[in-house]
Symmetry: D2
Subunit: 258 residues, 4 copies
């Protein structure tokens, strides 16, 4: 088998280097968030950059046991008590465009919008208005807006304030704020949700779009492990019963699943 190439980790007897940094110095002199940044950017972060990642990771760590990712992890450990790895994985598998993963699509939209404003000499307000109009024309939701629970997502202003204070606010945040106005005018008032605000911040920090979803996963895993531990501590196996109504051939009746 041809050897795999990597520029991430070099390990040999007695030594582990991550992106050229000895792991023992990372352990003693750096935070885990520094290591997260280093792994994905191939350099250590400035203090301001670390502060932003810390804020995003805590923002997405958990949103309640009934969130699809948390609920799936609990269902898995309830039926398969022996494997916490399986339960955490089940939770991660629920993360996609509809849950936790909208940030990547939103970053792509922001990147395309900033480029378009430059190319077509549009103000961000004009550009945002057109993007929203085009979404409406094809009946597509604009990624990064609206939330099942929050009228105003409390995490968004915190991320924008932090970015401003840390000198990291740029075109991404400017554009999504313009889009917020356009969405509110053309569709209805909708909060910039945490997917949208983290997408804008990560764009301004120079990350690739795929990183938004990856960073959500890193943060959420800490919530999933806590949910799994609580389920093991507090609940009996197979305690979960989902109410089901059968409405297929032969009538509509409450049904009992195993």
């Amino acid at each position: 088998m041809e050897a795999w190439r990597t520029a991430i980790v070099d390990a040999r007897d007695g030594e582990i280097r991550i992106r050229g940094n000895d792991v023992t110095s990372l352990m003693t002199e750096r935070t885990f968030t520094d290591t997260v940044f280093l792994l994905h950017r191939a350099r250590l972060p400035a203090d301001q950059e670390r502060a932003m990642l810390d804020a995003i990771l805590s923002a997405v760590a958990d949103h309640g046991s009934g969130a699809p990712s948390c609920a799936a992890a609990r269902l898995a450990i309830s039926g398969n008590r022996a494997s916490v790895s399986a339960a955490v994985a089940a939770g991660i598998l629920t993360i996609g465009d509809e849950h936790g993963g909208a940030g990547s699509g939103c970053m792509e939209m922001i990147a395309a919008g900033v480029e378009r404003a430059r190319r077509e000499s549009l103000t961000f307000e004009e550009c945002a208005s057109r993007i929203v109009g085009e979404h409406r024309a094809i009946g597509k939701r604009v990624a990064g807006f609206g939330h099942r629970v929050h009228t105003d997502d409390p995490r968004t202003p915190v991320l924008f304030d932090l970015a401003a204070r840390n000198g990291l606010a740029g075109d991404g945040i400017r554009l999504i704020k313009a889009m917020h106005a356009a969405v509110s005018a053309q569709v209805k008032p909708m909060t910039i949700n945490v997917d949208g605000s983290m997408a804008a911040v990560l764009y301004d920090m120079g990350f690739q779009p795929v990183f938004a979803r990856l960073l959500f996963i890193i943060g959420r895993v800490a919530g999933l492990t806590a949910e799994v531990m609580e389920e093991l501590d507090r609940e009996r196996p197979m305690r979960i019963r989902v109410p089901v109504v059968y409405d297929g051939e032969g009538g509509s009746t409450p049904s009992e699943s195993e």
Copy 2:
């Protein structure tokens, strides 16, 4: 990299052989259930053996959308609409000792019990009585008995009848029936569930214990794919809301997850 060894499949340009059988002859002359048997036993089944596997696979394919495996698959596709692989995998991850996987432990218990009856010159009734007593003494449930929904699991007598008709009933079925009597006498009346009856049948057919869980997975996957397809066809993304009550620091209140 050292080459991996396998005795399952040999593939090369224009030819695929499974356990020495050309896949094209399997496709035209055999059923999928034959291929399942062949893959795990390295020979094709007799008609009676195929009939037993067919019965078990249909028996466990699905037990309703609220079963942990089915519910987890639906949660996953609801949040991560793009990946049916991820949803099916999430469903499989819920399968363990508590859900769908008890058959393997039950087969180990049966194998040990049959061996013990022989070694200690016990009747199966005596042996079953001791095993149940020993479980009671350490407060452990006897695998293969009881069901959340069924007072009498309707799949169990069908499997036993089929095994008898096909000439495949042996010590496994004899022992689990003796255990059924012992459980009912010493604990309370409890049905032999499908995990228990399939364990007895698979033991009598000469399978390894791990195969009980693997066969459950093969059968259940067909249910999971159907559940995923129905969720995609009939429901909107992120429709699932699990009711949650927060009872931690600061009081007990209904909570809303994302």
Copy 3:
């Protein structure tokens, strides 16, 4: 929590009905492949339909231990010896557009092509030629053609012959054959692979595109469970070593992973 609706399974004490069929009659009178068909089509198959599903399921069950799905399952059970559910799930997670999942995209292409031929009054040859030309123009591969191992995929003619013999060959097979000629003329000679031939057959049988990937998963799971069982039987834990070369900061050197 609002009850979930389903038309697949109705279960209650002593009774399990799949699409209105009592599971005990499926167990005794039908094959597992019938149950697979029933779960996804809400009716039992004709003999010809069952024969096609059996052929497809055996065709995709396994293609060697080094296939990504099989290799991932083996890696998982090698590191996480206790959970066969986790290993099978890891195998399924490798299935996507590039591995095992091309059939769904191919079915969508076939459905659109058949509809376009009708709408634009094109022969299938004309339609196929345009579709291939359009793929070339944007540098996109045509789904369903070419194979890493097979110059001529041996499973494809078998599926087409079976479909003809069973009276199930229709526009799907006609169109993909026309595409085969167009690909060979415009690009290079390439086999219709099993993803392409199963897509054509499933289209002619009236299935939805998503079913192609789901059916691949059902078939492949039987191979994954056999691969997992062989790894457990024949190999020691953590035996797998992937050779790695580090080519990042600080030079290019062979590296040793844990």
Copy 4:
């Protein structure tokens, strides 16, 4: 459906509280590692406690692309290019007793050993000697010792030094050091690996055994996301080929998997 109970997160319109702490204050005043601690211990850490978690999380984040978890994630994204969630989950599924998960078993052994020393009035040296002897008698490996790559795991002395400097070293570290001497005397010289050293440290910090595996997962996920991103950036789909030799019925020959 009966509401689920949780003491982790309380979310409602405009507010998210984790263990009673407003998420916005965690975002601005705390690190992600604080949030990890908070989620699992229901209180914020002291500086010394945070430093230990940071060190452990960086220690286990990645150990090279060929580690089973990293290799499985790469295999998955190579075949299923569209789903980073699926790839990260595949990586997690390889984590078990043999890979990454030994810390939990090691913590249980430490907890039992400390208790036993107290109960039987043994010195830690005597207790360690007996434990190692008992493992040898039943041919069982002692969890937490030995490493495929490292003669001396470079992470272990760093963790022990940090624990000492932070005033968190206790019976766990004392016992595992005694066991190290016993293993070296009775079996052969073997390093305390990172699973063993983190187990000792986490025991001394008052964590439950299951947390060792959960914490490994949290740290490793950051490596998995980086491995997945590099595979997407640098490699073509389906590039991975595992060499396979077929040694089943009909002879021993190199085989080609799909």
